[in-house]
């Protein structure tokens, strides 16, 4: 069985691992590297809880082969805030009651970060489209949109 020795750049740190071709990035993150902030939901790229940022863009880690993303910049929820501080988005989510069970939250925060990094003045429509790839079964989305808008205004 072919195993590849690859290096992954995750949250600014380089990880060296040996993986078979069919190992997904999600499996590597959660099972090989212990970065369990990224979740598995539908495993088919529809729900968004596996969302990570690849070179700043939201992607589905459950549909990416680890060998396919070596050398690219990956950010997971663990990399969103420096040690001890919360990112303005994370603070806004807490303040606005945008978190219930929390399962969608890592993916939401990363997608929201990508929206605001692209356009810090994003309006409601842009935020809605930008988060359309992240499902939430608890909140009904309203408070999530409000939280992102509040963070945008900061």
């Amino acid at each position: 069985m072919q195993r590849s020795d690859i290096q992954l750049d995750i949250n600014g740190k380089t990880y060296s691992i040996s993986v078979p071709s069919q190992r997904t990035l999600l499996e590597v993150l959660r099972e090989d590297l212990g970065l369990t902030g990224t979740k598995e939901g539908c495993a088919e790229g529809e729900c968004g809880v596996c969302t990570v940022l690849l070179d700043g863009l939201p992607v589905r880690s459950c549909l990416l082969l680890a060998v396919d993303v070596r050398g690219r910049k990956i950010m997971t929820i663990e990399g969103v805030s420096p040690k001890g501080d919360l990112h303005p988005l994370q603070k806004a989510f807490i303040e606005h009651g945008a978190i219930q069970c929390g399962f969608c939250t890592p993916g939401m925060i990363l997608s929201a970060k990508a929206i605001l990094d692209q356009n810090p003045f994003s309006g409601e429509e842009e935020i809605r489209v930008g988060l359309s790839g992240n499902l939430c079964r608890c909140t009904g989305y309203v408070k999530i949109f409000k939280a992102v808008q509040a963070a945008a205004q900061r």
Partner: protein, 288 residues
């Protein structure tokens, strides 16, 4: 997922070679369709050939003679945000804006979308309506195939062993051209129940000089409404002409029943949406 060998070719020729030498090899582009199939054990390739390691397959160029040339590995987001596409083929921008969600658009490619061969995909109706041609590359040479001839059956295209879709070409359209893509879906940007794309060009007198209608989700493959050209070209289009094209769209449709919709509903809706799309395209073109 079953085990597979993973290859990274440096050129298209090398990729074709890998594919020809390994009968069970499949191409990896964006992976958003393929990896789902792999996870569900619906395909069991012996090898995956990653096209993304080949440079130059993701350009978008405009040529005054040949028109718009879109490389096969352009991601949906590349097409969505391309000023060239917005300027020269806005119906494509409209179609891709209705395709799934941002993370999928950040990964999936137009080539992968076409080669996956899903009958309800969003690109094919729009590409059919504008008369797009596909450039297929193989070690034996290249061939150009009109997009409506590319699809053979459910998830089956005309690609032969070792052949790769390299480029999508949209010939230049006349100045007074307007297009519309209507997607009927249960949830915004989910899988299309019915998709209709129409493109109309008018001369200064309002006579139709170009027309194209493409359908998705109503047959084992995307369809071209061939008779649309016969009905619409050379006339100042009237409601009855549009009605005729919509009836023809319904006549050639042969939809399935599945969890999203029944065959009867699709058959009904393809008529309604073809009429609506053509009316809208005509209005837009008249106001130009």
């Amino acid at each position: 997922m079953k085990y597979f060998d993973y290859m990274e070719p440096k050129t298209l020729a090398e990729a074709c070679q890998f594919l020809s030498q390994n009968e069970g090899a499949k191409i990896l582009a964006g992976g958003v369709s393929l990896v789902v199939l792999l996870k569900n054990d619906l395909v069991r390739p012996s090898h995956l050939v990653n096209l993304k390691t080949i440079p130059g397959l993701d350009t978008i160029r405009w040529d005054d003679q040949d028109g718009l040339k879109i490389g096969t590995l352009n991601r949906h987001r590349d097409i969505l945000f391309s000023p060239l596409v917005q300027k020269h083929c806005p119906i494509l921008t409209e179609a891709v804006s209705k395709l799934a969600t941002p993370p999928i658009r950040n990964m999936g490619t137009i080539g992968g979308n076409l080669c996956h061969g899903e009958p309800s995909a969003d690109f094919p109706p729009a590409l059919i309506a504008v008369g797009a041609k596909l450039r297929l590359f193989s070690p034996k040479g290249e061939r150009i195939v009109p997009v409506e001839k590319f699809f053979v059956d459910f998830y089956e295209t005309i690609l032969s062993e070792g052949e790769i879709l390299a480029e999508i070409n949209i010939p230049p359209l006349p100045p007074r051209t307007a297009g519309t893509y209507i997607k009927l879906d249960k949830i915004t940007n989910s899988i299309a129940i019915v998709g209709v794309a129409s493109v109309i060009s008018l001369d200064e007198k309002g006579v139709c000089t170009f027309a194209g209608v493409g359908l998705g989700g109503v047959a084992p493959t995307p369809l071209e409404v061939e008779k649309a050209k016969k009905i619409l070209l050379g006339r100042q289009i009237e409601e009855s002409d549009i009605d005729q094209v919509a009836e023809e769209a319904q006549a050639i449709s042969n939809p399935l029943t599945n969890v999203y919709a029944s065959d009867e509903y699709r058959k009904e809706m393809v008529y309604v949406l073809t009429k609506r799309a053509l009316k809208e395209s005509l209005q837009k073109a008249l106001s130009m």
